[in-house]
């Protein structure tokens, strides 16, 4: 009995080692979305492009998976991911954009200068719409399935590696889903 007590510390420590080792791989700053597996909350935003209808949650229930890209012209990493988005648009990926925390003219200028990868685009000047689904900064990209449910949230610029390794395959899988 006494022996058992003395063995407790080393056993406990080994368990702790396992936790530490597993913990090494994780990113403590990563922020999983609360909406994974749940539908996007209902929202509607003003149009970014003149004569357009803006972006709303109903745009994501059109029966095909889509990306929701949150961007802003004042955001550095958005510049990095923009060419990737243009390429994806050419390949037929449906991308909708939300211009976050700036006025429509600034966002429009960005699209005119750099190219417009978005099917639908909305303007969220106060950032409130983004907060409704947990946006913490820009850029962020949400992957939405055919039923309008959030399946993944990618924080930071969307690089070609991210597409090839994670997001591309996920979109394929969502397309195959009923």
């Amino acid at each position: 009995m006494k022996r058992l007590l003395f063995i407790l510390p080393v056993v406990g420590f080994l368990a702790l080692l396992g936790v530490f080792f597993a913990g090494l791989g994780r990113d403590p700053r990563a922020l999983p979305s609360v909406f994974i597996g749940k539908p996007l909350p209902a929202f509607a935003t003003a149009p970014l492009r003149p004569g357009d209808t803006g972006l709303a949650s109903t745009d994501f229930q059109k029966g095909e998976p889509a990306l929701l890209n949150v961007f802003a012209s004042w955001c550095g990493p958005c510049r990095v991911e923009h060419p990737v988005l243009m390429r994806l648009r050419q390949e037929g990926v449906v991308i909708h954009g939300l211009d976050w925390k700036e006025d429509a003219p600034a966002g429009l200028k960005w699209l005119t200068e750099r190219g417009d990868p978005y099917v639908r685009a909305g303007n969220d000047p106060t950032g409130r719409t983004g907060i409704e689904f947990g946006v913490a900064g820009v850029p962020e990209t949400f992957i939405i399935d055919k039923q309008g449910r959030v399946r993944y949230r990618h924080v930071g610029a969307l690089t070609p590696e991210d597409w090839d390794q994670k997001i591309g395959p996920l979109m394929e899988q969502l397309r195959k889903e009923s």
Partner: protein
């Protein structure tokens, strides 16, 4: 003075969304403001390194402070206001961890350690106190008495 503050706040609002003027966020009702102040101390700024939204200068922190105040002004209880933000950002945003099945060890762990240690110490003490050494048997008593009587003359 309050009117001056209100005027200042109003003017600041008109200055434009980029001007993160904090006196501006404050509610007029001091009781509500105090509640909001206390609650913001329990919410994490998710884009910072270990700060509450009350302490942080980050834009998101400011947004959340304002939202919190809106919810409280709208009549939410403390729990409802926090739930509003947790519904959007997850339990990670609560610096006060929720009481759930998986956080039971976190909340009751300290007490369990204290209790286990206390039991351990108690068992240890009982086995070690002079009283536990036990009284002398009759034989030992007799032998002791003889030694004492003989006065050490051997």
């Amino acid at each position: 003075m309050r009117r001056l503050l209100l005027l200042t706040a109003a003017l600041a609002l008109l200055a434009g969304p980029a001007a993160a003027v904090n006196p501006d966020e404050q509610l007029k009702d001091p009781a509500l403001e105090q509640r909001a102040h206390e609650l913001s101390k329990t919410l994490r700024c998710v884009v910072c390194q270990n700060q509450s939204i009350d302490d942080s200068d980050a834009a998101l922190a400011r947004d959340l402070r304002i939202i919190l105040r809106e919810r409280i002004s709208a009549g939410d209880t403390d729990g409802q206001a926090i739930d509003y933000i947790v519904a959007r950002y997850g339990s990670f945003v609560q610096l006060d961890p929720p009481m759930r099945l998986d956080t039971l060890a976190l909340w009751f762990g300290p007490l369990v350690v204290l209790a286990l240690g206390g039991i351990g110490a108690f068992v240890y003490m009982r086995g070690r106190s002079p009283a536990a050494a036990g009284a002398l048997t009759a034989e030992e008593e007799a032998a002791a008495a003889e030694i004492l009587k003989s006065d050490g003359a051997r």
